[in-house]
Amino acid sequence: MSSKLIRCPKCEAVNIDTGDEIECRRCHKKIYKNKQYSLNLTTAYLTTAIIAFIPANIYPMLIVTQFGVSQESNIIEGIIHIYENGSYGIALIILFASVFVPIIKFILLIYLIISTKLNSHKDHHSKHRIFYITEIIGPWSMIDVFVVAILASLVHIDNIEIIAGSASTAFAIMVFFTLLSALSFDTRTMD
């Protein structure tokens, strides 16, 4: 008699598939088999992240006040400013981490959600690779938020002050929800 086996996503233990309510034999966590639940959760988190990405790019990320004159800059303006100052490498790093990484991650996650919803089981090796890439690159978007926090913490004297702009909040929320979106995606649905 052959019984179906199921992998626990928490501890990787192989369990015997006994029905809808399965508790992992090793970590005692519930193994959810409902494919739709994980997909809905991933879609909801991803939508929130995409919504937060809009104010993150429109509102100022950094406000520099020098002798009473304030200068605000959003992400793109900040990158252009760094590039014009001759720090090409840093401009490239911030452009990659703050603009390209979130967009690439959105595209890859949308592709994974759609292909899973359409029940496409083709080429699941490349899908696992895509998922791995989204997990690896995701947290690197936080670079810009960290840089702003460091600058705001360091530069605050009488005549010169750097303040974090409201885009930093939107950006941190965006990173948080893209990470949640990738983590809630059940990789077993790709097999």
């Binding site: 501890c11 990787e12 947290p139 913490s153 530069v155 941190a172």
Partner: protein, 171 residues
């Protein structure tokens, strides 16, 4: 390589490295990371002072996220590694060991101290033209802590810890 064979000294190694790591973490948070000379007034950067500054500016959400990603989660992860090494070595409290292992695998994606270190370097390049900047003790402590953490996560996989859990409590 997907899975690494568990060696008998792995728990001792994990315990030793985790204890060293937590000592460097304490050092990293006790002193200054960067010192900066701005027009004859000195400013310094420290993780906790940075978090207080963000809360002062009323950036609570950013402050909470940064506190989680670079302070609470790294500290919690390393404390959990020490706890699991002790529990598995002494073969006691299997239910706590199980919860700790689940927590370790859940937290692994949220530790961003390595990204924070790169951010410090990026911020320094931005400021280096205008101000006189120097690294302090905490920067090197932070660097060593991150290297030790990378060693733990690359040499002791969660799969190996679950194997040791099975071996410790099912014998």
């Amino acid at each position: 390589m997907l899975y690494k064979k568990t060696d008998s000294k792995m728990l001792d190694k994990l315990l030793a490295i985790s204890i060293s790591a937590i000592m460097f973490f304490i050092l990293a948070n006790s002193f200054t990371i960067i010192k900066m000379d701005i027009m004859y007034s000195y400013e310094s950067l420290n993780i906790l002072s940075m978090l207080f500054r963000l809360f002062d500016m009323q950036y609570y959400i950013v402050g909470i996220f940064i506190a989680l990603f670079i302070f609470i989660i790294p500290l919690l992860s390393i404390t959990l590694y020490i706890s699991i090494a002790i529990l598995l070595k002494m073969k006691i409290y299997p239910e706590y060991a199980r919860e700790i292992l689940v927590l370790i695998s859940n937290l692994s994606h949220w530790n961003m101290l390595d990204i924070f270190l790169i951010s410090i370097l990026v911020a320094l390049v931005k400021l280096a033209n205008s101000f006189d900047i120097s690294f302090d003790v905490s920067f090197y402590s932070l660097l060593i802590f991150i290297l030790l953490e990378i060693y733990i996560t690359s040499h002791i996989k969660i799969f190996n810890l679950w194997q040791m859990y099975d071996r410790a409590y099912n014998e």
